[in-house]
């Protein structure tokens, strides 16, 4: 595909936000967005892991799986790479930066089962991105996810003590806020349109 990688980057943040248009990473999005601090931690961890695993998965897919005709194993390979990478990062952070470990470390195990990470790798294969495009797509999706969870956490903190109908408390209300946010993000589609 002949699309400027920068356009993919911008589009991944705003117009085709991984969470608001592709619904990926909803589980941790809803459960961790109670406070701004913890959502920044998780968002940064997602951004970091997403950028690197997309790059690694690109190399593995195009230089190992395709030549060996093992493409049907991509799900297993991708999930192993993601799990191994997360484990590795956790150990490195724990060893070298205890401060960072306390802010970021507790979120890392959550990330292995975050569908945004696997989803971006699968989108990269389906949309036939080049290496640069893939890395920027991964980074953009991570930033977009960070932006979305930050916005939701901010709103949820504001309305913490407001009256909410019993049936909507918790997940229901978060879903409605997210829906309104998704409506708002449609407004960005004037910038770039890419599917």
């Amino acid at each position: 595909m002949e699309v400027n990688p920068l356009i993919i980057f911008i589009a991944a943040i705003f117009t085709s936000n991984i969470l608001l248009t592709n619904f990926l990473g909803m589980c941790s999005f809803l459960s961790v967005s109670r406070e701004v601090e913890s959502s920044i931690g998780l968002g940064l961890a997602v951004f970091f892991v997403l950028t690197f695993t997309t790059a690694i998965n690109y190399v593995i897919y195009h230089f190992i799986l395709v030549p060996l005709q093992l493409v049907y194993l991509q799900y297993i390979i991708f999930i192993i790479i993601i799990a191994a990478f997360v484990q590795l990062i956790e150990m490195i952070i724990e060893r070298f930066s205890p401060v960072l470990y306390y802010t970021l470390g507790i979120f890392l195990p959550l990330i292995t089962v975050n569908c945004a990470i696997l989803g971006v790798s699968l989108f990269m294969v389906i949309r036939e991105y080049t290496f640069i495009q893939s890395v920027l797509f991964g980074a953009g999706s991570g930033l977009g996810w960070l932006l979305a969870i930050l916005a939701l956490a901010g709103i949820r903190q504001k309305i913490k003590y407001k009256f909410v109908p019993a049936g909507l408390q918790g997940a229901g209300l978060s879903l409605i806020i997210t829906g309104i946010m998704a409506l708002g993000f449609i407004g960005f589609s004037g910038i770039v349109i890419i599917q």
Binding site: L20, T21, N22, F23, L24, G25, M26, C27, L30, Y72, L73, Q74, Y75, I76, I79, I80, A83, T112, V113, N114, C115, L118, G119, L122, F123, I126, P165, A166, G167, L168, Q169, G170, A171, G172, L173, L175, I176, T178, G179, I180, A182, L183, I186
Partner: protein, 199 residues
């Protein structure tokens, strides 16, 4: 619990979507058409039932420390079967669902059932629990997609119902409506339950 009770509890009383709010990524993404939802629901039910059975059979042999990894691999192998089956027999459906078939692996429902039920119970019970949870999930998917397809395309299961005079609500096909529909569904089901509990 008898087998019937296990089924009812996992399909309705403890329904993963509206009770525990798990696995909603795909519940939101594939519900713009009923056909997609049906196939997705069947795929998830298949994976849930068989991975429940396998994990339960192996539960004494899996070391505690690596059980998450082993469970993920078991789930992934069943998802690959679903994916290859769709690619071979329904290539168009496979293209329409795109990455969401592969994302069944990270669907929290499956991991949740494996952790909460299959790791502790007998194989047959786990399989019934898996089928129940899968059918409960499919039910939610079909409900949401029924309304989204009806208002968005004026059709049900691909057959035009409302005719040409219907002005299509394109918002129902787009992302925001999925969030709203799921929130309304949770509200309708949970609202009376929670009100009862308060009394």
């Amino acid at each position: 619990m008898t087998k019937k009770e296990i089924f009812i509890v996992s399909a309705f009383t403890e329904n993963s979507v509206w009770k525990q709010v798990l696995g909603i990524c795909s519940a939101l993404a594939v519900t713009n058409l009923m056909k997609n939802s049906l196939v997705m629901g069947l795929g998830v039910t298949f994976t849930l039932a068989l991975s429940g059975l396998t994990i339960s059979l192996l539960r004494q042999y899996i070391p505690k420390r690596v059980r998450m990894m082993v469970q993920t691999l078991i789930i992934a192998s069943y998802v690959i079967i679903v994916d290859i089956f769709l690619k071979a027999f329904y290539p168009e459906m496979s293209k329409a669902l795109g990455p969401y078939v592969g994302l069944i692996i990270t669907n929290c429902i499956i991991m949740g059932r494996a952790e909460a039920f299959a790791g502790k119970n007998k194989p047959l019970d786990s399989m019934i629990d898996g089928i129940g949870a899968g059918l409960g999930y499919s039910l939610v998917l079909l409900l949401i997609s029924f309304f989204r397809e009806l208002f968005g395309f004026g059709s049900v299961m691909g057959f035009s119902v409302l005719g040409d005079w219907w002005y299509r609500w394109s918002i129902m096909v787009m992302a925001p409506s999925a969030f709203f529909m799921l929130a309304i569904l949770i509200w309708i089901i949970e609202g009376p339950l929670r009100a009862n509990r308060k009394k």
